[in-house]
């Protein structure tokens, strides 16, 4: 899998039923029919990078800090099939093409996603932030998962 730069024809990939900023942005089960989907904006400045896996999804590197070489990452997919591959591709891209040293992202345990995909891509759970997000009628915790380049 390769990431390439965003094109306007990729716009449909940027909208989907996932939580904003979620590291593993997979379609959320039982997303209400009338609830607005999440949309991320096309890249507009140098503080973020958006890599597109054509017809599959995107990897967004937000809050890019070029001095300290870190970013918050989120991916968005319309199906779970290629999540692991996209995440691994995103980590590889960040560490090699962007020369970052650290990536972190938000994980919402209430979604019940399989965290094995995250671990497989090198991420580890770093901390829990209680009651940080309103989701499905209640406040829920979010975790920060990170991966650090060791070479």
């Amino acid at each position: 899998m390769m990431l390439r730069g965003y094109r306007s024809a990729d716009a449909a990939l940027l909208t989907g039923p996932w939580l904003p900023g979620e590291l593993l942005g997979l379609p959320v089960k039982d997303w209400p029919a009338l609830a607005e989907p999440t949309t991320i904006r096309p890249p507009a400045d140098y503080n973020e990078e958006l890599g597109v896996a054509a017809d599959v999804g995107f990897a967004r590197f937000a809050e890019l800090d070029w001095s300290h070489r870190r970013a918050r990452v989120e991916i968005g997919l319309h199906g779970a099939d290629q999540a692991e591959q996209l995440l691994k591709t995103a980590v590889h891209y960040a560490f090699t093409a962007l020369a970052l040293r650290r990536l972190h992202g938000w994980v919402t345990p209430a979604l019940g996603e399989d965290t094995a995909i995250l671990e497989s891509a090198g991420f580890a759970r770093e901390t829990v932030i209680p009651d940080v997000l309103w989701f499905d009628g209640r406040p829920v915790a979010r975790e920060i998962w990170g991966v650090v380049r060791h070479d």
Partner: protein, 165 residues
């Protein structure tokens, strides 16, 4: 329009392609969405009423009504008012299922403590629907609307969820 229970509710903002459907809604004399006299409104005013904040409500892909949810009261007070109207052919059961779907979507990513609906006293269909939805009838602000030469009050309804904090 079929009146069997819709399998799916969806929503979207109106486009130019929806103009005929929207005008058709407002030919109903009791399509009381943002106006007390829907059937005599000119097209441009209908267009303003069904602006960017309004969502078309579609039952199995067909336009069945409109709604919008507005913040009310203090900033971040979790207080909202719902404006909802379904076309006359929609049975009462549609109001119930549409309301539940709107609520589920609204409370998905936002805390709501109080959701209000306000219905003019002459709006038989709206009052019947609001009562069927199980909203608390809080009272009537008397004599605020003139309709067919008579004065009516506005009936206040609300549903309240105990605040988280």
């Amino acid at each position: 329009m079929t009146t069997t229970e819709p399998a799916t509710w969806t929503q979207r903002t109106a486009t130019e392609a929806d103009a005929a459907d929207i005008l058709d809604l407002f030919t109903e004399s009791d399509f009381l969405y943002g106006t007390y006299r829907p059937s005599t409104l000119p097209e441009h005013q209908i267009g303003e009423l069904v602006g960017d904040n309004t969502r078309l409500l579609l039952a199995d892909g067909q336009v069945a009504g409109v709604y919008r949810l507005e913040v009310e009261g203090s900033d971040h007070g979790c207080h909202y008012v719902l404006h909802l109207r379904l076309r006359a052919a929609a049975p009462l059961s549609w109001w119930a299922s549409a309301y539940q779907e709107i609520l589920r979507a609204a409370r998905w990513r936002t805390e709501i403590v109080r959701l209000a609906m306000r219905i003019p006293g002459f709006d038989t269909r709206g009052l019947q629907a609001a009562r069927a939805l199980g909203l608390t009838e809080e009272g009537t602000l008397a004599d605020v609307v003139v309709h067919n030469g008579q004065r009516y009050g506005t009936v206040y309804f609300a549903q309240i969820w105990t605040p988280e904090s």
